[in-house]
Amino acid sequence: MTSFVETQALRKHFAGVKAVDGVDLSIQEGELLVILGPSGCGKTTLMRMIAGLEIPTEGEILIAGEQVTKLPPRARHIAMVFQSYALYPHMTVYRNIAFPLKAQGGLAKGEIDEKVRHAAGVLGIEPLLDRKPRQLSGGERQRVALARAMVKEPSVLLLDEPLSNLDAKLRASARDELQRFQHRLGITTIFVTHDQVEAMGLGDRIAVMYAGKVRQVGTPDEIYSKSADTFVATFLGSPGMNLIEGPEYTVGFRPEHLHPRDSARFEDDASSYVITVDRVENLGADTLVYGSVDEGTNVVAKIPSTSTFFASAGDKREFVVNTEYLRYFDKETGRTTTPGAP
């Protein structure tokens, strides 16, 4: 596998603020990479630099092996869908989709028409071609934006939180649709989001960003179960990983691995914690038990509602975690580590 989009030591500073602070990423051809991070982590700036809308302060960007760092967007053969979809409000859907082709030039009217109708067909929006954007629903707008993005057959597709304007129900189906669409076209895609559910469900790989830096790149499973540092560990999962300060390491375990002793099948070498229950929250499928260990560190346990566990505030209960689910982090750097390793 060759890397198709590459950033090398990419930096962007805005008046002293390091929005993107040395990012090395390499995205394979045909891959869907999700850039995940909280708002303000620099993920959108990173994408805008790849698109050519921002000039990096330092570093290089390569697309298909070619230096594009200083090229304008139109020389990069990319397409982008913005959070707002940015449909041209004064143009019909047809003209919106045709716009990139006309801007590119060199195509006859008939060819443009053919491509526009093909793209509209793929996304099932042919009946909407004569409408104006304001006459469309959120889901329809998203399809139009996608059709406009794919119509010129870009080599890289950039998506900036394209699902965040949809309501929760539509979002799930749009995500599913987007993933199938991407696999069918096999187009290299970078997807920016702050929503971990979206990231986990969508990405071939996920790059987790925080404070301008990429903290970890890996498959959804890797970043969830082998989080590279305490930030990734606590950012992913809902709720995030429990962290307890030990004498040598920071010890972490996920809420769903913390079981009440009396209901759990556990091995002999499981770690045991006595937890003072604070609050019990029934979420339907799961029950969240909030409490504290040693009167200080807050922890959460996620127990399937099928279990018979019952506790109320103030109760002291013993919980256990199987050793295989314990994660160790360096107390100073927060990086993952193995006990006993030098």
Binding site: R48, A51, G52, L53, P72, P73, R74, I78, A79, M80, F82, Q83, S84, A86, Y88, P89, H90, F99, P100, A103, Q104, R148, K152, L158
Partner: protein
Amino acid sequence: MSTETAQPSRFRSLADNERALGALMLAPAVILILALVGLPLVLSIAFSLSDVTVGDTSLDYVGLENFRNVTRTPQFRRAVIDSILFTTAALLIIIVLANILAVVFTQDFRGKWLARILVILPWATPISLGTLGWLWLLDSKFSPIDWVLVQIGLLGPDTLLGPGLHLNYLGREYLAMGSVVLVHVWRLVPLSAVILLAGLTSIDQELIDQAQVDGASGLRTYLQIKLPLITPILAIASLFAFILIFTDLVVVFVLTRGGPIYYTQVLSMWSYNKGIEGGALAEGAAIALFFAPVLFVAAILILRSVRRIEVT
């Protein structure tokens, strides 16, 4: 304390009554408009249908006699043509220049604030003073423009613009007409540019980014995205400029007084010459009333563009 809450003051109850409060707050504007616009309009209609002059101020009804009289004169044709010609020419130039300026000012460059101040100055200057400045610039003997033209070899013996050392801008038919247009352009470009600038900066940046990503050049982005999006605002800027030029008296009054002969005598100038200078109040009023239908249409168009801005 308790009595205060139990019995709200009269002022307080008025402040809570939206109908009364609304009427009260609108009243000054309504009175002002009735006194300064309504009354003169009624008066000029009354004048135009009468035989009133400065010497005989009694109003005797003569029907449309005044309108028939003024439309029969050669000055009428010329005044209508001049008014339309000056307005159209100035407006076209203003729209082009204001667009260019507005685009320039959306860019970042060194000394932008200074450039902005310099551009807005003509608008901030009283029209009469600014036009006086132009009167000197265009003077038949002392025009510095002539001097510059002579120095760079465009004016004088054996040059492109002729053997004389003076072009006499305000004394020759087409140059005088051009000068009037020039001054209108000079004083109204800033206003239009500022209105357009406001329109351009209100465009969602994501749309412009999108156009860039879609591969559009700067020119295409401007012509196909920005310009259509600011059309309602452009319409308002144009209509304002239209009204200000079409009804203007000051520029012609200071620059040419309608001359040479009556070649720059626009409707307003002619109305003034006839009604005030000539004392024929009735005919002057009749001439001025030719503005009414045009301004009525312009006002409707402005209100419609404002609604379009609100809709989009």
